[in-house]
């Protein structure tokens, strides 16, 4: 029997095959098919060329999150299109503004995605659910329409890079720093077409939220998917959030990897990706030794870093402080549940009293949609995932990607600041 990676095992099972190997083209059954208010409306006319009904109303989910609350009339029409489709098709998981949140936070939170599944989403950050031990990847509109109609899709079986994590994370270092460090090391096409499989004793160091953040940005290294093994933490998360049965897969011990990369978590510092690539990583020590980079805006949120532990960490730094008078800060919880939990725990008060805008869940500012668009020449520290030219507004705006703690420390300082030094 051929040895397989974790991803290959999931794909083989979903293709009804005993084994698969890298490069093989397969057709796999899909457990969840997701689209949003940008990709969904475009998929509907394509879907209608193939089918009248979705393949399974439990397995198709449409999330209005990108330009919501509707930023203009065209966006309102797009939200309306997926709303009506979702209602007409009687989709089990009907999503609506005020009751959902950012797609990659809401699907795990509502227990719609679990370990062992094969998931596609018409959004590149669909790779997030690999944190749960699922195969999950982003696709385009035609693919998603096909998935909605047939419940199957063609895939080229990926080879993998194994990341062996060891050591302990230092204080004020989180999953975001880990993934920015990794992308900095391997480059923005370092894992092109491949799986990023995380393993090693260091996995136990990482919270579920850290793992979501790490898998979320696998695409920023070009990867097809990122994936973590299932452990007690994953099981506890799924038991709390989901009633679905899940299946645990493990990579064969003799699985073949294109490359094995050792990551010593204890050596990772707070890390910032400078414009205009997520792989343009700089350590906080390098930043401290250089001229101050003054900023105009801070965004704390998104499918990358808008989860509860992200906001708790940001609030711990902002508590009792004031954001710099030169900076505006957008805090955007990723789901309604996180939003209300922030109120219950007093985080909302901390943010507002520190001078932050505390906004409704949305992808808004991350892709320059709304709720924090940047002007020419402005600089932003953002916990989001991309710092491409024009990503958050004007093409001459500069985006620095960082962790929630670095973002909070920078908000207070008015320049990119070290979260390890707050209170010194």
């Amino acid at each position: 029997m051929m040895s397989m990676t974790m991803t290959q095992k999931i794909l083989a099972d979903h293709a009804g095959l005993k084994e698969v190997s890298a490069g093989q083209l397969i057709e796999a059954k899909l457990d969840v098919v997701m689209a949003n208010d940008i990709t969904g409306p475009m998929a509907l006319p394509i879907f209608q060329q193939m089918a009248d009904q979705v393949f399974d109303k439990d397995k198709v989910v449409l999330v209005p999150d990108h330009f919501t609350p509707n930023k203009d009339i065209k966006s309102a029409e797009n939200s309306k299109a997926i709303r009506e489709f979702s209602l007409n098709q009687c989709l089990t998981h009907h999503m609506e503004q005020g009751k959902c949140g950012v797609e990659h936070a809401i699907l795990p939170e509502k227990g719609i995605v679990v370990a062992g599944e094969c998931i596609i989403g018409a959004d590149s950050h669909t790779c997030t659910y690999g944190a749960l031990g699922a195969f999950s990847t982003g696709v385009g509109t035609t693919d998603i329409a096909t998935g909605m109609a047939t419940g199957e899709l063609w895939f080229k079986v990926p080879s993998a890079i194994q990341f062996v994590l060891k050591g302990h994370l230092q204080p004020h270092v989180s999953g975001k720093d880990v993934i920015l460090h990794i992308i900095g090391r391997i480059g923005v096409d370092g894992a092109l077409y491949k799986s990023m499989e995380f393993t090693g004793e260091g996995v136990a160091e990482l919270s579920m939220d850290d793992r979501f953040t790490i898998c979320n940005m696998a695409i920023e290294a070009g990867a097809k998917n990122g994936i973590f093994p299932v452990d007690d933490l994953t099981r506890a998360y799924m038991d709390k959030h989901s009633t679905k049965t899940y299946k645990e897969y493990t990579a064969d011990e003799d699985a073949v990897y294109d490359e094995v990369v050792e990551i010593d978590l204890s050596e990772i510092m707070p890390t910032v990706a400078f414009p205009h690539l997520p792989g343009n990583a700089h350590t906080m020590d390098e930043i401290n030794a250089s001229e101050k980079i003054y900023i105009d805006q801070v965004v704390i949120g998104s499918c990358t870093n808008g989860r509860m532990s992200d906001l708790r960490k940001a609030a711990a730094i902002l508590k009792g402080k004031q954001v710099s008078e030169r900076v505006r800060v957008m805090v955007v919880p990723a789901t309604q549940k996180i939003f209300v939990q922030c109120i219950r725990e007093g985080l909302a008060e901390i943010f507002v009293e520190a001078g932050c805008a505390f906004n409704t869940p949305s992808c808004g500012p991350c892709m320059g949609g709304h709720m924090g668009v940047m002007a020419k020449g402005e600089k932003c520290v953002s916990t989001t995932n991309r710092n491409f030219v024009g990503r958050m507004g004007d093409t001459e705006a500069l985006i620095y990607l960082a962790s929630p703690e670095t973002a909070a420390a920078s908000a207070i300082a008015g320049y990119i600041a070290d979260p390890r030094k707050v209170g010194e």
Binding site: L25, I38, T39, P41, M42, I46, Q49, M50, H66, F67, K71, D72, K74, S75, N78, G121, A122, D123, S124, T126, G138, V139, G140, T141, T142, D143, A145, T146, A149, T150, W154, V188, D189, L192, Y193, I219, G222, K224, L277, M367, G368, G369, R386, F388, V389, G390, R391, T395
Partner: protein
């Protein structure tokens, strides 16, 4: 199938946010998207482009978002083919699915210059640089994808399979 056109050349990591910025994604009208193609790195792209022209770029072309609006904008603007050292995987899938020609060829991507006249034979994967009088061999599509392209994209492929 053949293409013939003048080359517009770009560097590495041409991302989907510059191919079609998110601020235009409140529409999926192909013509409207095409009118904004490449605006954030090359504001003159649309006016310089003649139907059939060919884009040549470095590695990781189309990285970033899953937006199918990106290959659709380029195709509708009149680009006949993108030749690059490598493509980001979602852009690659999306292009095939909508029948937009893309070719991986490191040698061609390095050697072809802005303004060169280039002819492509998709059946053989051969790329001819008419300006430099040179020839390059690109990676042909695997058989499975050739079938899909022959079926004129994924939708027809699925409908044919249903019979």
């Amino acid at each position: 199938m053949k293409a013939n056109g003048t080359v517009l050349k770009y560097g590495d990591n041409v991302d989907t946010d510059v191919i079609i910025p998110a601020r235009y994604l409140n529409s999926f009208d192909a013509k409207e998207l095409a009118s904004h193609a490449m605006v954030d790195i090359d504001p003159t792209f649309v006016e310089r482009l003649n139907p059939g022209d060919i884009m040549v770029a470095g590695k990781n072309f189309g990285c970033g978002s899953s937006r199918e609006h990106a290959p659709l904008a380029l195709k509708t603007a009149g680009v006949s083919c993108v030749i690059a050292k490598s493509f980001a995987r979602i852009f690659y899938r999306n292009s095939i699915n909508i029948g937009f020609a893309i070719l991986e060829c490191e040698e061609a991507a390095d050697d072809i210059d802005e303004g060169n006249q280039v002819e492509i034979d998709f059946d053989t994967g051969k790329i001819y640089n008419l300006t430099k009088n040179k020839e390059y061999q690109s990676q042909p599509f695997p058989e499975f994808l050739q079938k899909m392209i022959q079926a004129n994209g994924l939708v027809n492929y699925v409908n044919e399979k249903k019979g």
